[in-house]
């Protein structure tokens, strides 16, 4: 059991959780994630570790309520327990002194990029952080990012803060202004990461993306998270989640992320098995 020690609403539908998980906190490096399961009948879902405190034995998760499990989590509060939590998973981000890096984040990707931006700064890189969000309200971690970046630029879809438009516009501007970038890290919705990849490929700037395919175990056992990178099939949970953006097959990634648009099988659930399911006290789930 992993106790929720603190919970904070930081943007519409986005909550920050501090969770007791000493063994995970002791080992986490930027770029890694956990897989959690809320209760006996819950699904296993992946969430990035956005911050951690080895001494306090805690990890911070920033979760956007977008569907079934994340909404159940949003309904939980301080003192509640998460049944299972496995981590830290995935390969840590490779962070070395290279010169100037641009950290490009979209939406909840801001939470994931923060520890990486911080680490880039620590190893001596010049860090430009570019953040995109729907509107001013949806922005979070601005102070934290300001503290770990040499410069922060913001774009909002409606122009309520910063540049009106996409975060890729900001990146294009930075490049067009003649800023030399040694490395770009892009984390956010798939179309945004794809747009960044296309842009930086034209300019031959080394670019890393952090992918979020559907996962189940997070240990390399099920193959659900497979993505095509160059000529190879990679398992995002064990080989990733970060990959060379210029090699990722985004079309396939996008397609596979819609796996749950179709569910079901023909069989009626056998009465005795159904009774077992109900006895465990579940609620009916309406999907789609």
């Amino acid at each position: 059991m992993y106790k929720i020690l603190a919970k904070d609403n930081i943007a519409p539908n986005i909550d920050k959780y501090i969770i007791a998980a000493p063994e995970v906190a002791a080992k986490t490096k930027p770029g890694q994630f956990v897989v959690l399961r809320l209760h006996e009948k819950g699904e296993r879902i992946p969430i990035s570790i956005s911050d951690w405190d080895k001494e306090a034995g805690t990890i911070t998760l920033i979760v956007q309520a977008v569907g079934h499990t994340t909404e159940q989590l949003a309904a939980m509060g301080v003192g509640d327990n998460i049944l299972d939590l496995l981590g830290p998973l995935g390969q840590p981000a490779i962070i070395e002194p290279v010169g100037t890096v641009a950290c490009v984040a979209g939406g909840v990707g801001t939470a994931i990029i923060y520890p990486e931006a911080r680490r880039h700064r620590e190893v001596g890189n010049r860090v430009l952080t570019l953040v995109g969000a729907r509107n001013r309200e949806c922005l979070f971690y601005q102070e934290e990012l300001a503290a770990t970046s040499d410069r922060v630029l913001v774009a909002t879809d409606d122009g309520s803060y910063g540049h009106k438009g996409f975060v890729t516009d900001l990146l294009k501007q930075v490049i067009d202004d003649g800023t030399h970038l040694d490395h770009v890290i892009a984390i956010g919705p798939i179309p945004m990461m794809q747009a960044v990849a296309e842009l930086t490929k034209r300019h031959e700037i080394k670019t890393t993306v952090s992918l979020n395919p559907i996962m189940m175990d997070g240990t390399g056992m099920c193959g659900a998270c497979r993505v095509r990178v160059g000529d190879e099939i990679k398992f995002c949970c064990t080989d990733g989640p970060e990959f060379d953006a210029h090699l990722v097959d985004f079309a396939s990634l996008l397609r596979r992320s819609r796996l749950y648009e179709r569910t079901g099988f023909k069989a009626a659930i056998p009465a005795e098995d159904k009774a077992e399911g109900e006895a465990k006290g579940g609620e009916c789930r309406c999907h789609g």
Partner: protein, 482 residues
């Protein structure tokens, strides 16, 4: 060999008419069982068990024992069953096998113990597996009996040993080490212990309640388990040593699924058998929406492969209401699955396409599977490994309609521990190398057995390895202290 020879082989003096025929094992009728997940085989009644066990000739040279990877004293336990001493039979089995209720169900007996049974030369071999299962189940129904099951918790533990992975190798190693007086902690990545027994083998072959009971008896011996620990990530091998574990056993299995690397394998609706089986067995997706993990299957399912995993996937999909075709590149005789599972799959209506292999998975235009293109193959010359080479027949391509495709073409070891443990070498195929006999890896104090060293094998071989490795660990730790 004549009937007389058979009698001479054994010590039995009578050869009744029924001697060569097995007492049939009651099963759920196929038309009923395809609609439920309850166990297919119903097992013997006490009378049936005694009758079947009485067929044993009590051969002096008991060849059957050589066929059992853990060397159970088969004739003795059969003699006890025939005499109605079921508790006695079980204590004989338990001397060599910690998980009889499981092995009786899932061992490929036809290539192990039963393959060498003398009676099999002329008739049916003794149903050793079904009888092993019978006595284990009998004990579950009569829990108070003395069978060597309840081992006293040792009070003074010699040293702390970590067991990584809770599949049959890990569970057996843990039980054996505990019996030898060590303080054992199992570390398991998933939220439920059991390895393939929990996430792979379906309920209708191995009820989860049986696994739970076998597991609980190991916990009662004083073994501790920590789930949600991925060794290599949550804790490294070095962390375990610095936490005071003096030896580490790796029983991490071969859980990394393989794909064919053909076009369309990334389409929606293509699953590795592990994903499909885990969704159903571990996450109980067949109860969706009462549980949160969903599953999409569609009307036609193609399963690629011919082993136990393929049979389990196919028979699970049949129970979820799909029409299922298994595509296997060799012939029926070459199917590596347990014979019983092949028969059961056929009875349940699984179709087989032999001598064919998928070359392309076709999309419906929206990213979902619509059909599998296969090509016919012919078997050519015999290769060094005894198998025949396979040649596709040009122009023989054909389409099988499918909304889902399940790849059951084998698994390799997970690389995480090898990647994160300095000094631990693994072979090209990712298996962890060990010294035969000592189970030592290249890293001091680290031992391994089961599928992680052998590649996908069997439950009983994993158990046998786990047990022998436990003894090797005992030997190592005693040397360390002296």
């Amino acid at each position: 060999m004549s009937r007389l020879d058979l009698v001479e082989e054994g010590t039995a003096t009578t050869t009744g008419k029924g001697r060569l025929q097995r007492v049939p094992i009651p099963v759920q009728p196929p038309e009923e069982r395809v609609d439920n997940f309850s166990e297919v085989s119903l097992g013997y009644s006490p009378e049936m068990a005694r009758q079947e066990a009485a067929r044993c000739l009590q051969c002096r040279r008991h060849p059957c024992v050589k066929g059992c990877p853990v060397g159970i004293n088969i004739p003795s336990f059969l003699e006890a069953v025939a005499a109605g001493d079921f508790a006695g039979a079980l204590s004989i089995i338990r001397q060599d096998n910690t998980l009889p209720a499981i092995c009786g169900r899932v061992c490929p007996q036809e290539v192990q113990c039963e393959s060498l049974c003398v009676l099999g030369r002329k008739g049916d071999p003794v149903a050793i597996g079904a009888l092993e299962r019978f006595v284990a189940d009998w004990e579950r129904a009569h829990p108070s009996c003395e069978t060597g099951q309840t081992v006293k918790k040792a009070t003074s533990r010699k040293a702390k040993v970590a067991v990584v992975g809770s599949g049959p190798a890990g569970l057996t190693a843990a039980a054996e080490l505990s019996r030898l007086g060590y303080k054992v902690t199992i570390f398991e990545a998933l939220h439920t212990p059991g390895g393939v027994l929990a996430y792979g083998i379906p309920e209708f072959r191995l009820p989860k309640s049986i696994l739970a009971d076998e597991f609980n008896s190991i916990v009662q011996m004083g073994v501790e388990i920590k789930t949600n620990v991925l060794v290599g990530r949550t804790l490294t091998i070095d962390d375990l040593f610095s936490k005071g574990f003096q030896a580490i056993f790796l029983g991490t299995g071969a859980g990394l699924p393989r794909f064919l690397d053909i076009p369309g394998e990334d389409l929606n609706g293509v699953y590795a058998a592990n994903e499909f089986l885990t969704r159903v067995n571990l996450m109980k997706a067949y109860l969706y929406p009462q549980v949160d993990t969903p599953l999409y299957l569609g009307e036609h399912v193609v399963v690629v492969g011919g082993g136990n995993t393929a049979m389990d996937a196919a028979r699970t999909a049949i129970r979820l209401g799909s029409e299922v075709t298994i595509v296997y590149r060799r012939t029926r005789e070459d199917l590596p699955a347990r014979k019983e599972e092949i028969l059961h799959a056929e009875e349940e209506g699984v179709r087989f396409e032999f001598l064919a292999t998928p070359v392309n998975i076709k999309s419906d235009g929206e990213g979902w599977v619509k059909a599998v293109e296969c090509v016919k193959v012919i078997q050519g010359e015999r290769l060094d490994n005894g198998r025949q080479s396979l040649e596709p027949i040009p122009g023989s391509e054909y389409l099988l309609a499918a909304e889902s495709v399940i790849m059951a073409i084998g698994q390799g070891p997970n690389p995480i521990i090898a990647q994160t443990t300095p000094g631990l070498s693994s072979g090209d195929n990712g298996r962890i190398g060990v010294d035969a006999g000592t189970f030592k890896t290249s890293r001091e104090g680290v031992f391994a057995a089961g599928d992680v060293t052998s590649g996908g094998a069997t439950v009983i071989e994993a158990m046998g390895g786990g047990k022998r490795a436990a003894r090797a660990i005992d030997h190592y730790l005693q040397r360390l202290r002296s």
